[in-house]
């Protein structure tokens, strides 16, 4: 992370490390036991906070939209949506890309930052990964329900059949199947592997027999043996090394859905990088959306500090700039290519009947975030970040809307120009997935350790090993 020089303004906040002028990653004064108790307590406590039940019920309630929507969808067909010819793809694909994008932050945090030895990631990677998995669940839903005959969706997978017919591997959609399924499975095992030692902890700290058995099973009998730790470490490093190219490839493949097609506005080489950047952009926004209320609700300010928010905001600034560059390139190429198709597409995208969508996108994705995120004050302003994270995710949703809809509804043959109008079912199902996401996430924070305890321990000063077995200095001495 870019370390700033000493701050000009006097620092009063104890959370600020006087040497770097950065916020501390963990509040001073924590011991192995305190962090363990703090985190394990949330899971093992016998009296669940009412707010949790409330959130769970709300999530479940909203998720009913998805249930009802899909039921009707299967009964009637995709015609209940706004999709049509020429706009044969609509909300389903937009939401798919949006959710997958959100997922990316989790993998990025857990994998790429791990490779870069960014230890501050430790406090947020667990629930970022959880977020990834739930986002992928929501995303994975859409390609399946958006096909005209969902009950035959399994034809997209390669399996020996009596028809001697196989998937068509030249199609980006077939690539999606591989990319997304791989992404989902790798994320899950990475997530689970990360939790094994913590399950051990929970097993040992649990008092209720049921919890003991439950976490005992999950922990596979983890006992913290050093040889295990070494293999474990190397395995997680390998997975991180694998997830990094994976996460980059997934959104690249998603972007191929468009880049490989012949449409002006889709047929663009800039897509892979700017899709990945956009994904991380929205992903971090979502992490912030989740992190802020959680640290407040469970009083985790000590472990998820302003430093984390600050860093995440910086990442958003960076990726946001890449995305902005992407938009810029599209416009530039429309002019530079001197291709009538490109030029008309861009003109229509800006000033056509659906121009409003493009300008919303520019406002929410570029104008607001990229002007404000430069200020450290705003970067560590919790309330502002919280609002901004919503703005950015709206913007990213509109980015996909603009790409999918405004490229489709007016393309090569003017005779077949049309328009696109979403129906209530489109919205119901979209909102429904938001509910499902919330629901799953609430379950997660209640029953699984949302912050990796073992990794937090590693960040504590007590981990320093002094030769000769001299008693390690206590934290209090150190800070004195």
């Amino acid at each position: 992370m870019a370390t700033k020089g000493p701050m000009q303004d006097p620092i009063v906040d104890p959370m600020i490390d006087p040497r770097t002028g950065e916020y501390a990653v963990i509040a001073p004064g924590h011991t192995f036991k305190s962090v363990t108790q703090k985190i394990a307590g949330i899971v093992l406590t016998s009296n669940t906070p009412l707010g949790w039940f409330f959130g769970l019920v709300v999530g479940a309630g909203v998720a009913q939209g998805l249930v009802i929507g899909c039921t009707w969808l299967f009964l009637k067909g995709t015609g209940i949506w706004g999709v049509t010819i020429p706009g044969a793809w609509g909300f389903a694909i937009i939401n798919f890309v949006w959710w997958i994008g959100i997922g990316h932050a989790g993998t990025l945090i857990s994998a790429i930052l791990l490779l870069f030895k960014q230890t501050w990631r430790n406090s947020i990677n667990r629930f970022a990964e959880a977020m990834t998995i739930f986002a992928v669940c929501c995303a994975g839903l859409f390609p399946l329900i958006h096909v005209g005959r969902p009950w035959l969706a399994y034809w997209l997978f390669p399996y020996p059949n009596t028809m001697n017919v196989w998937p068509q591997f030249r199609s980006p959609l077939a690539w999606d199947v591989f990319a997304v399924s791989t992404y989902a499975s790798i994320s899950v095992i990475f997530w689970y592997m990360g939790m094994i030692p913590d399950f051990g902890t929970l097993r040992d700290r649990a008092t209720m027999p049921l919890a003991k058995y439950f976490y005992g099973m999950l922990s596979l009998g983890w006992r913290g043996s050093t040889r295990h730790w070494i293999r474990y470490e190397s395995a997680s490093l390998l997975l991180a090394g694998l997830s990094t190219p994976l996460v980059l490839s997934v959104h690249t493949v998603i972007s191929f859905d468009f880049a490989v097609a012949a449409l002006a506005g889709w047929h663009t080489t800039i897509f892979p990088p700017y899709f990945v950047a956009g994904a991380i952009y929205s992903g971090f926004a979502m992490v912030i959306t989740l992190a802020i209320p959680i640290r407040k609700f469970y009083h985790l300010e000590d472990l998820v500090t302003l430093r984390h928010l600050d860093n995440m905001a910086k990442v958003m600034l960076g990726t946001g700039l890449i995305v902005g560059y992407g938009y810029g390139m599209e416009v530039f190429m429309a002019w530079y290519s001197a291709s009538h198709w490109e030029f008309f597409m861009m003109w229509n995208r800006m000033f056509g009947p659906m121009g409003w969508a493009y300008w919303i996108l520019i406002l929410t994705n570029l104008a607001i975030p990229l002007t404000t995120l430069w200020s450290r004050k705003l970067r560590v302003n919790v309330a502002y970040l919280f609002i901004l994270s919503f703005i950015i995710n709206t913007g990213m949703w509109f980015e996909r809307f603009v790409i999918v809809v405004t490229s489709l509804y007016r393309e090569y043959l003017p005779s077949s120009w049309g328009t696109y109008r979403a129906t209530k079912w489109d919205y119901m199902i979209y909102v429904g997935t938001l509910g499902m996401f919330t629901f799953l996430f609430f379950l997660f924070v209640r029953f699984l350790p949302m912050i990796p305890m073992s990794e937090i321990r590693m960040m504590l000063p007590q981990t320093k090993v002094t030769p000769g077995g001299a008693k390690a200095k206590t934290v209090s001495e150190e800070s004195a």
């Binding site: 009637k76 067909g77 995709t78 015609g79 706004g82 999709v83 049509t84 010819i85 020429p86 706009g87 044969a88 096909v147 005209g148 005959r149 009950w151 035959l152 969706a153 399994y154 034809w155 997209l156 399996y159 059949n161 009596t162 028809m163 017919v165 196989w166 998937p167 068509q168 030249r170 199609s171 980006p172 959609l173 077939a174 199947v177 859905d257 490989v260 097609a261 012949a262 449409l263 290519s337 001197a338 291709s339 009538h340 198709w341 030029f343 008309f344 003109w347 000033f351 009947p353 489709l408 393309e411 090569y412 043959l413 003017p414 005779s415 077949s416 120009w417 049309g418 328009t419 109008r421």
Partner: protein
């Protein structure tokens, strides 16, 4: 041939009919008597009695489970049982039901575990019947403007396709939208199914009884009146003569809301007797149409020969002088837009213009443009030296007709390009006048029996006659109609009319040739025809329509009758019955007798609808959904007006506007149509009907009959039109996209349109910019025959900068895999070069008449989706006529371009399908495998031509049995969630392939004809093997004017277009 029972409901003797089977392959054979089925059609009818609409068919479903019904079906539709198509359809519905189950184990097999399917073999099989081989029978579709000779394809005695009769001298195998649509009309589930007496089901016998006794009471026929549709049947006329002989006082009035009164009146004045005109456009260098939409459809007499003749002379071919067409019209029609020069005038002005033209003096007070047009036109006509023709429109005023007669004779066209003959109608009359007198008699109480034959006056009679009130005064009213419509519902008697495909008759075509109308199928509901009704009055009242026709045929079939009759039925027409020119010749000028009066104020012009005519196709889904010519309006009609009028009335498109004329009014949404003259609203007739119109027709559009008066049936002046609150969204399948594109956004345009008030069509302009439409003038093409691929022609923009020359084919070498696939392989076993299918479409010949689309509907089991679905752009036509408006929308050029799947060799759709549901065949077809499709719709996104259609919902008819019978058994019925598109009629290709392979020969050129090609009245579409250099299609593709649409995308479409050539008058250019 459809004999189900020994004692059949109609008098069709099996042996009578089988003989006339037109079987290209086998000789006609006589069917041995089939032993009677357990349940007769009559019993089915009894069972279905009283059931209407949905419940009706539910009931039929239940019925379908009883063995008797299967038994019946076996005999009605042997193929159904033989091939189990019948139970198939059920099992396919089952297939949907078990879609959940298909997820289970059996589903892995890619198909469901099918239920036991029974087979119902014949008791005795008709010897000529080969299950799965269609049979063809000749008959004719009687239409007021002249019968259309047709050849009907019957699958196991079940009509499944209506096409032109190739052996007929007039139609030469061509057909039109209406004729194609009559098939669905036959299977319309809402057809009336019983004789009704005061709403109660009665029998035909009862009526015969009541009618004849009543007639006998009035020994002279006093008070017996017939109100008939226009008669084109000599036999019916003969029958009427007999009736008159028996009952001299009986009266027969012919009347239809859309009629030819104008020409009748004018011809009477000019020739002393009613006269029809026949034009020979293949002879004409200059054509002037005075409000005559003779390329629009059979609403204009002789559409087929006229269109063919026009196209013949409009093709740009070596050693041929192209014709030049001028059109003066109100409502923009395909004729108007095909014309080199089009002048838009109000109806009243047209008369003035025509008269002025005839007098050779410029019209007073006409605008500069009009004057210029007038002068140029007149000189051009004169210069042509008689090789010209003036065609007046049937819906133009008598003055126009009189002027046309005068012009044709003064220009010396008579005898060269036009001849005057006796009328197709054996009993011509001026219908509105007759109707008025009839209503007079009705009010005077003179009418005891009013027998209405096929018309629906309660709905369509001129509003000022108050027909309904007069109707109420009549003791006994009889209505013979295919539906229990507005008239049928309130008549004492309703007799369900047999469809022409169900009945015997005869009719004259445009050229006078008589065709025998023979039944293709036993009347589904035991319907009756006008012959039966008239016969009821005669002493031998039991004679069937067949008997009547045979009796009368003896008068016009020369030579040995038995042989002649058989030949007539086989060929579909009777030799030597065509009209010859009348002695009267050119006739005298009758202009004086029709003074033209300059009218003032807003006018409303009434026109038969291009899709549903006067309303008779209101319940035919195909026609309602068919995007209308020029406007592309699907479902509904509208108050069609110009931008100027719209501004004047302070209207936006789809604002409801109330049009009122002395006291009566109708409300319709406003619709701007480019090229429409100011100060006039065009209203299409036949819409705005209630529930009686049927499940399709009810509540569609707006009833313009409301303000149509008997004294002004063609147009009225001085109407008021005001906006009423609310909005009504019309569904137009192609918007005009009037949109201002700022000048800064035009730097890449070749023809920048610094258009500030948005009066040009963005779509149209883009079509030119993208070189989708290419044309040139004769001069230009003479200068540069290769104009379609080079710079310079006024109507062609190519060679723009960009990643490749805009609109030009990318050289094969540019590809990474130029020779990945060869389509010129030689078959190892035959050592012959393989077939490669391709299509060429001549944009010069295409007149945008829509016949191809309806033909495609019938051939490929295309579903009707309904107004709301079309509104969101989900119409299912595999083929569409793209209409582009070029230039200022006040007086634009328009271009028609049939657009269907282009069968690209490097098809984008194939590359992106994740399950390989659309793939390329060795012969270059882009096949869509419905049962493999999972419906990702990616293919549609990647198709630049947007010709793929998706079953967003369950569109196909799985419940309506009568519609199932119409399905083409060789084409899958697509269920929901499946993509579909034009297949080049692969079922026809495969059928021919099998025949050819059996005979170990190559497929001959022209042996495979696609449905659209078959219907096209101007032969604009050519299909064939492009590897066979001798084939027509290969030759066309070799022409310089041949070009690919969006060629620069390098998809290598197999369908190519021949760039248009126009022949404008330099003076007006």
């Amino acid at each position: 041939m459809m004999k189900t029972t020994g004692n059949n409901t109609t008098g069709i003797g099996t042996d009578e009919t089988m003989a006339e089977m037109k079987a290209p392959a086998a000789q006609p054979v006589v069917v041995t008597q089939i032993s009677p089925a357990k349940m007769t059609l009559a019993e089915v009818r009894a069972k279905l009695d009283g059931k209407t609409g949905r419940r009706f068919w539910k009931n039929l479903d239940e019925l379908a489970d009883t063995p008797e019904f299967h038994e019946l079906m076996r005999e009605e539709f042997p193929r159904q049982s033989g091939a189990n198509e019948w139970v198939d359809s059920v099992s396919r519905r089952g297939f949907l039901k078990v879609m959940g189950a298909s997820l289970t184990l059996a589903g892995l097999a890619g198909c469901t575990k099918q239920p036991d399917e029974p087979i119902y073999p014949y008791i005795k099989q008709p010897e000529d019947l080969v299950l799965g081989k269609p049979m063809y029978f000749a008959t004719a579709y009687p239409f007021p403007t002249g019968a259309i000779p047709v050849l009907v394809k019957a699958d196991s005695f079940r009509p499944i396709k209506v096409d032109g009769n190739p052996e007929h001298p007039m139609s030469k195998g061509k057909s039109d939208t209406f004729t194609q649509a009559t098939l669905l009309d036959l299977y319309d589930p809402d057809r009336s199914q019983h004789v009704l007496h005061r709403g109660e089901t009665a029998s035909w016998g009862d009526f015969q009884q009541a009618f004849s006794t009543a007639a006998k009471k009035t020994n002279s026929g006093q008070g017996i009146y017939f109100l008939s549709e226009t008669i084109t049947s000599p036999s019916l006329a003969a029958q009427w003569k007999q009736v008159q002989a028996a009952y001299p006082q009986a009266r027969l009035v012919q009347w239809e809301p859309v009629n030819q009164d104008a020409s009748r009146a004018a011809s009477k004045a000019a020739f002393g007797s009613y006269t029809d005109a026949q034009y020979k456009l293949e002879e004409a260098d200059v054509i002037l149409s005075l409000d005559a939409d003779f390329l629009g459809g059979i609403a204009h007499p002789g559409f087929l020969p006229l269109a063919a003749g026009y196209a013949e002379r409009h093709r740009y071919e070596a050693g041929k002088t192209m014709n030049r067409m001028y059109v003066v019209e109100t409502m923009p029609t395909v004729t108007g837009f095909k014309a080199e020069h089009r002048l838009a005038l109000k109806p009243s002005e047209i008369a003035t213009f025509a008269t002025a033209l005839a007098n050779g003096a410029a019209p007073q007070g006409a605008s500069g443009d009009t004057q210029k047009f007038f002068a140029a036109l007149l000189s051009d006509l004169k210069a042509s030296g008689g090789k010209c023709v003036v065609i007046p429109g049937e819906q133009a005023s008598p003055a126009v007709h009189a002027a046309a007669y005068a012009l044709n004779s003064s220009l010396g066209a008579v005898g060269k390009t036009v001849i005057y003959t006796e009328t197709v109608n054996p009993m011509p009359s001026e219908q509105v006048a007759d109707l008025r007198s009839l209503v007079g008699d009705m009010n005077a109480g003179k009418v005891q029996w009013l027998v209405i034959l096929g018309v629906n006056p309660i709905y369509s009679a001129p509003s000022d006659l108050h027909f309904q009130d007069a109707f109420a005064k009549i003791p006994v009213t009889v209505h013979l109609g295919s539906h229990v419509d507005e008239t049928g519902a309130i008549a004492n008697w309703h007799i369900n009319k047999a469809h022409y495909l169900e009945s015997w008759s005869d009719a004259r075509a445009y050229d006078g040739t008589i065709s025998i109308i023979q039944p293709m199928i036993d009347p589904l509901y035991g319907g009756k025809s006008a012959h039966d009704v008239l016969q009821a009055l005669l002493e031998n009242s039991q004679i069937s329509a067949y008997g009547v026709v045979v009796a009368n045929a003896k008068t016009y079939i020369k030579g040995d009758f038995a042989a002649g009759w058989r030949k007539a039925l086989h060929d579909g027409w009777v030799e030597g019955t065509a009209f010859t020119a009348k002695a009267a010749g050119a006739g005298k000028s009758a202009i004086a007798s029709f003074p033209t009066t300059a009218s003032s104020g807003l006018e409303v012009s009434f026109r038969p609808d291009p899709s549903i005519y006067d309303g008779r196709f209101a319940n035919v889904g195909w026609m309602q959904e068919l995007p209308k010519q020029v406007t592309n309006l699907s479902w509904d009609n509208a108050a069609i007006m110009s931008m100027g009028t719209m501004a004047e009335l302070k209207l936006e498109e789809s604002d409801p506007v109330k049009v009122s004329f002395n006291g009566r009014e109708f409300i319709a949404p406003a619709l701007m149509v480019p090229g429409h003259p100011d100060g006039v609203i065009t209203a299409h007739l036949g819409f705005g009907r209630g529930v009686l119109a049927g499940r399709v027709g009810q509540g569609v559009g707006f009833d313009a009959y409301q303000i149509r008066r008997s004294d002004a049936p063609l147009f009225v002046a001085g109407v008021t039109a005001v906006k009423v609150p609310g909005t009504y969204e019309l569904c137009i399948t192609k918007v005009h996209n009037i949109e201002h594109r700022g000048s800064f956004a035009q730097h890449d345009l070749e023809k920048p349109q610094y258009d500030t008030d948005g009066v040009y069509s963005l779509a149209g302009h883009e079509a030119m910019e993208r070189s989708i439409i290419r044309y040139a003038t004769v001069e230009e093409v003479k200068k540069n025959p290769n104009f379609a691929h080079e710079h310079g022609a006024s109507g062609t923009l190519i060679d723009k900068v960009g990643y490749s020359p805009q609109g030009e084919t990318v050289p094969k070498e540019n590809s990474f895999f130029p020779n990945a696939w060869s389509y010129e392989k030689t078959d190892p076993s035959t050592l012959k070069i393989q077939n490669a299918w391709g299509m060429a479409i001549d944009l010069n010949s295409c007149i945008g008449c829509n016949a191809c689309i309806v033909s495609c509907y019938a051939e490929n089991n295309i579903p009707v989706v309904g107004r709301e679905q079309v509104k969101v752009g989900r119409n299912m036509q595999w083929l569409r006529i793209d209409t582009y408006f070029e230039g200022d929308l006040h007086a634009p050029k328009a271009h028609f371009q049939p657009m269907a799947c282009q069968h690209c060799e490097n098809a984008g759709c194939e590359q992106v399908c994740p399950v390989g549901a659309t793939v390329h065949t060795p012969e270059g077809l882009n096949t869509m495998v419905y049962n493999r499709c999972v419906g990702t719709r990616y293919c549609s996104n990647n198709c630049p031509y947007k010709v793929r259609r998706f079953n967003f919902l369950l569109y196909s008819q799985y419940d309506t049995e009568s519609l199932k019978f119409m399905n083409n058994p060789d084409v899958s019925v697509r269920s929901r969630g499946v993509m579909e598109k034009c297949s080049y009629c692969v079922q026809r290709i495969e059928a021919v392939k099998i025949v050819a392979d059996k005979e170990n020969r190559e497929i001959r050129d022209g042996e495979i004809v696609t449905a659209c090609q078959q219907a096209c009245p101007t032969s604009a579409i050519t299909f064939g093997n492009i590897n066979d250099k001798a084939s027509k299609v290969a030759k066309l593709k070799a022409e310089e004017r041949d070009y690919q649409v969006l060629a620069d995308l390098a998809f290598r479409p197999r369908t190519t277009y021949t760039a248009g050539v126009i022949n404008p008058n330099p003076e007006l250019a």
